[in-house]
Symmetry: C2
Subunit: 420 residues, 2 copies
């Protein structure tokens, strides 16, 4: 995919000036000789990101948060530079009428760039909404089926389960496969799915943020009129996706493409316009589609930030290039875990491990608090696992530079050498 | 109300360095002698706001938008200064986990400052939500009544009408008074309201953004168990309000207190917990109350911005002081209209004219486009009236400095002198 021709963002996220690690051998054998490790002393924090603004010389942290999560530095600096006066308009994006020409140019470019990134076919609408994916859990059945209609849910983690439970209010959903008994570490093979041939839709969560389980391919609805729906909140725009396989793709922005407060819905146009009478107007896709996401005041600044990220992703070469970077980062981290002789463990089945969220535990679980504490001293933050599963979790979304993962891996090896 | 003791914002919005107008006589007689007017030539734009950032020397505009609307300059500059690295945390507010200690400190201070500003009693909850006031139009009946319950709506403009129409889906609402036949220029006297003694609630829109009609006092529900509900989107925090008179106050943030994408709900706690089974989880007040607005990822950056504005309002001396400034601005503008011998007209009944949104027309309506065009040349933007009513509208929210209104008034007098 070609870089955007009107990109204003330059540079590559993995080009970090102040940290040029030597190649790290992926052999775990190094760990038996800690004195040979190429590591800065853990008591001397390595800053791989340096603030270059009036905020002073505080180094930026390496942020492994699951979302809201790290944003590209060039996007943040761009947003900072024009926060007070957007491109000579005399006002902040936060002060613009959502119906004025300035904001219209922002939202239209954001949509156009997203369409280019994901090669979204023209028969799909792109909506910029509010309320998070959780609001869509209700909007989907309210717009796509009647109260007695069967729909199928494949539950590979907590988010799929939440989506299912919300649907119980509005239709006749069934969990046709659940990974719960395996503590959500698997994705089913598609031929084992017992789909209802009358199901109006088949719902999946393409990447489970908490459990680190990701679909690598997608099932096909058995009902020829059924549609596949995917919650892509935590892997949206992390790799190319064939949108035409889906009826609806939806995603909260706050993992890969922007700040919290924006929800993106990509929906096939023929599915729009069938909301039930009781649907709140703000959950009716037709209202938002007819009004180009401007029925009421949208989350303007958040949409603007998403637009800056889309532009940056195009400048990186599009989602194929982004996927390569994400694969490299994930490979590095999973290898470090798998090559630790069980010191670190990732419970997820290898073939469906997420490129975005890497949960892992320590064999000696009593060391986990120490691991998190020492990592924080090295400016690596938000590594604690979700409260429902414990352990650690490193979220390595698009904006996490390779150097950030390299630093984590080096730290893990050093930690193991000291505690094995 | 005392200024916040931990305020980090200094200065007064009406102290603008580059524009110190001499007192403008409110007598329209000057207009017969344009040569005596104390005005800078209209061909030489007056900058009353100067950018002091890396964005360059572009002057800021005077933004009369109805919302999203102008934000206080010191708030914008503060947000800009810490956008890339919030107070040494090493990350932007947009990158913070909503469950981390940094963001918790932000949302808790925002709530605390808002409670201080409005003297919110402890028996009320404060929720920071998404979806705009329009989402609340559905959430209110879904949470507060059953499908056959009667509720009363007083409709003084387009927003009250929208709230009523959404309620039709969920209960048995009745418009007990409408200003439509008077083109929404009035508020009823309260004793003429034919309230249903069984109505679960009485709904008003405290300030109609489009029509410029504002309640100066509030009706009392006839049903002793009924509650008063007010949409305060466009006059929230513009003046003190006795919260204890209300069951629910709700407001989109994007007029007076922040960017779009945040909706604030202040609700008496005994009204929480009665949502119908079909209520989408994101519209259930109990869910948000139990989770301190963190059930799912909230609009973090927007809440942070609201917090900066609340802090600024406290630093100005609280809402009594803010109200005085708003009264002075509105008086100046309405006087200019009323003293123009009909050249300008405001259709709204004098006693209920909004302090926030001032709609006006030109007697010679063919000059309106010229008025808006010339004003824009003077950096006064967004003066066009809403498409449903035409004419002009100057929104003069909290963040509009007195000097901005003075400049508009001077421009109006000069325009009249040239076109009378």
């Amino acid at each position: 995919m070609a870089a955007s021709t009107n990109s204003f963002l330059t540079g590559n996220q993995t080009n970090l000036p102040s940290f040029k690690p030597k190649p790290i051998s992926q052999s775990f054998l190094h760990l038996t000789k800690p004195s040979t490790l190429n590591l800065t002393s853990p008591t001397k924090p390595i800053s791989i990101r340096c603030a270059s603004t009036s905020a002073g010389s505080d180094p930026r942290v390496i942020n492994f948060a699951a979302g809201p999560a790290a944003l590209p530095e060039n996007v943040l600096l761009k947003a900072q530079s024009e926060l007070y006066n957007w491109r000579g308009s005399g006002m902040s994006v936060m002060e613009m009428s959502h119906r004025g020409k300035e904001f219209l140019s922002i939202i239209q470019k954001a949509e156009s760039d997203l369409r280019q990134l994901l090669s979204i076919p023209p028969e799909y609408s792109v909506l910029f909404l509010q309320g998070g994916a959780t609001t869509q859990f209700a909007a989907l059945p309210l717009n796509l089926c009647e109260s007695d209609d069967p729909v199928d849910y494949v539950v590979t983690g907590s988010w799929g389960d939440k989506a299912f439970k919300e649907a119980l209010k509005y239709c006749n959903p069934k969990v046709i496969w659940s990974g719960k008994s395996d503590k959500y570490t698997k994705v089913p093979t598609f031929d084992e799915l017992e789909q209802n041939p009358h199901a109006k839709y088949l719902h999946i969560c393409a990447n489970e943020t908490i459990h680190g389980v990701e679909f690598k391919d997608y099932p096909v609805p058995k009902n020829s009129n059924g549609v596949l729906i995917a919650d892509m909140s935590s892997n949206f725009c992390s790799k190319p996706v064939d949108v035409s396989k889906f009826g609806v793709i939806y995603a909260g922005a706050q993992k890969n493409v922007g700040p919290s407060g924006v929800t993106i819905v990509i929906i096939r146009k023929d599915l729009i316009g069938k909301a039930r009478d009781v649907t709140p107007v703000m959950l009716d896709y037709k209202i938002h589609d007819e009004n180009s996401s401007l029925y009421n005041t949208p989350p303007c600044f958040g949409i603007y930030m998403c637009g800056l990220v889309f532009d940056d992703l195009l400048a990186q070469g599009g989602l194929k290039e982004v996927e390569k970077k994400n694969q490299r980062k994930a490979e590095l981290l999973y290898n470090a875990i798998d090559e630790s002789r069980g010191f670190f463990k990732c419970p997820v089945e290898k073939s469906v491990r997420s490129l975005m969220n890497v949960p892992f535990t320590l064999e000696k679980s009593e060391l986990e608090a120490e691991f998190i504490k020492e990592a924080a001293k090295e400016k690596m933050v938000q590594l604690k696992g979700h409260r429902s599963v414990g352990g650690m979790r490193a979220s390595i979304y698009n904006a996490m530079p390779l150097a950030g993962v390299e630093k984590l891996v080096a730290f893990m090896r050093h930690f193991q050498a000291r505690h094995a």
